[in-house]
Amino acid sequence: MNRRLRRQNTVAIGVLRGMVGLLVALLVWILVTLLVAGWGELTRGGFYTGVPNIGGPGSGVGPQLFNTVYVLVLSMLIVLPIGLAGGIFFAEYAGTGRLANLLRRASETLATLPSIVVGLFGYAFFVQATHSHPSRLAAALSLSVINLPYVVRISEDALRALPPSLREGSLGLGATRWQTVYKVLLPAALPALITGAIIAAGRVFGEAAAILFTGSNFSLTAHSNYSLNPFDAGDTLAVNLYVFRIQAEPNVVTDARQYADGVAALLVVAVLLFNVGARLLGRVAVRRLQRTA
């Protein structure tokens, strides 16, 4: 009887490990497939500088790449200060009272909204209600709505991770709470905050649904031409991949598949870079924290 149980144990745990192995293999396969397929485009300089030219040779994602960074930066500029403010509030000023709980619940609820719902809201609020047209500004604002709860949470966590001796030292010298936050806590939490900002940026980097509704011009060939005007519409890389896939007929257009493979591969590379970057910075943050402690 004992042998049977042992065998069940070995088999069950073996199956478990096999399933995990399968997933790891799947991940590797995903990354390899995408990188290999898009390799040609990734290593072609014209890919990064050219403009979409479906049907002709040498399409590029220059404008989309630019738009991706543009919208990302714009969104971070909006969401980081607000999110940081909220995070500071939760970490340093709020108690566990009813108000704080309500605010927290709202934040958590906002975080669970599907991005397409936020996109539709973004259209209704940032585009329609202001009587304007889809723009990158509207897209950035929508991204901010999506990312705000996350930035609040990482700011709060970064501050809460600081040793209480920092706070006590500063308050003990007669500083106000705001002075403590501004002069002592924020600088000490900076590495963790930067790491969090990078992760937040990574999250919206691949976001497409919300931008589709608020900032896209739905066209394969019309593009924003590197404009700096936030009121211009424009597609980001992820949106472009979707728009492309839906609109282009692969049989009719020869370059289409190659182009899409390139965009997908570029997105994957960017994600890996974000990941590695955040991880490295995370280690710096931990080391800094250990020194202040």
Binding site: G86, I88, F89, L103, V117, D261, V268, R279
Partner: protein, 329 residues
């Protein structure tokens, strides 16, 4: 206690700020209070935004109730929201997309949950060393990949594969393809939350089980998984919510056809018939938002349904998640 700054008794900083410039002290207080208000505003924006989202979506969706009626919306499968552009008359029965969403997500959960639990148990109990070093980073990479990329990958690799077993003439897109793609996307969510739950089961329970002569698998199955059930259920509900809300990845592999597959006639191969979901139906109309008020209102209505699903999910997580707090002091 006044001190010119050179006194040996009082600490210099305190002496200076307490005595030197009363105006400076008052200004700090004002700034402090002002700061509190600003920060409160920062935190309060969450509530404001949440209210705005609900308000705007409801108001934009309302015409659907008044013009088309709830019964027509929920009970009819005749969905031609864009036929009304120009001179046609649209139909706004959303049964198919709603059904499609639930079917696809159900399939995704059926596939994802066993794998997610396997990963969770692997990381917490059977192979924690490898788990920490390799699996956690791998999960982070999984999570970071944009959803469009998953959809695209499904489009170029999964669909051709499914084409071999699909009914003739079908491209392979359908509920099965969408379920598989969504499953891969929600495994990290369910796995991470379940792993947290497993980690918080006290070590003493593992020891108690082992001391009674249980194998590791018996301990996992009979003690750990039941003890972590609140967390696991939370993870499943959150995975459900995430899958329900996924739009573009699904759109790329489901075929976007508003005909309910006939499971009675075709059995399981109906999973390979093209279908649709709520999110796909919404995404369809993205380029016609301004010119198709009725269709757009119907799509807002779908968004409201998604909103309700999200709220119910959050409530379920609170009910089911028990005492598991996310570590806030």
């Amino acid at each position: 206690m006044t001190d010119q700054g050179g006194g040996a008794i009082a600490p210099p900083a305190q002496g200076r700020s307490a005595a030197a410039v009363p105006g400076l002290r008052r200004r700090s207080r004002v700034i402090d209070r002002g700061a509190r208000h600003v920060l409160l505003a920062g935190a309060g924006i969450n509530v404001v935004l949440m209210a705005l989202v609900v308000a705007f979506l409801l108001s934009r969706a309302w015409p659907t109730i008044t013009d088309i009626g709830a019964k027509n919306f929920f009970a009819s499968a005749d969905w031609q929201p864009d036929a009304g552009i120009g001179f046609g008359v649209g139909a706004f029965g959303a049964l198919a997309p709603i059904l499609g969403s639930f079917l696809v997500v159900l399939l995704a959960l059926l596939i994802a949950v066993p794998f997610a639990l396997a990963v969770a148990v692997f990381v917490t109990d059977t192979n924690p060393g490898i788990g920490e070093r390799y699996i956690r980073p791998a999960v982070e990479v999984f999570v970071g990949i944009p959803s469009v990329v998953y959809g695209y990958l499904g489009f170029i690799t999964l669909l051709p594969l499914l084409r071999h077993i699909a009914p003739p003439g079908r491209g392979g897109a359908g509920i099965l393809a969408a379920g598989v793609v969504l499953a891969i996307m929600i495994i990290p969510t369910v796995a991470t939350i379940s792993a947290d739950g497993l980690n918080s089961v006290p070590r003493a329970l593992r020891e108690g089980s082992a001391a009674l002569g249980a194998t590791q698998w018996q301990t996992i199955r009979r003690v750990l998984l039941p003890a972590a059930r609140p967390s696991i259920l939370s993870g499943v509900v959150l995975g459900f919510a995430r899958a329900m809300g996924e739009a573009l990845a699904v759109a790329l592999v489901i075929g976007d056809v508003n005909v309910i597959p006939d499971f009675g006639k075709e059995g399981l191969s109906a999973l390979l018939e093209p279908f649709t979901t709520m999110t796909v139906a919404i995404t369809d109309g993205v380029d016609k938002l301004a010119i198709n008020p009725q269709g757009t209102a119907a799509r807002y209505m779908l968004a409201v349904v998604l909103l309700v699903v999200t709220f119910i999910s959050i409530i379920l997580v609170r009910l089911v998640g028990g005492g598991r707090r996310r570590g806030r002091a």
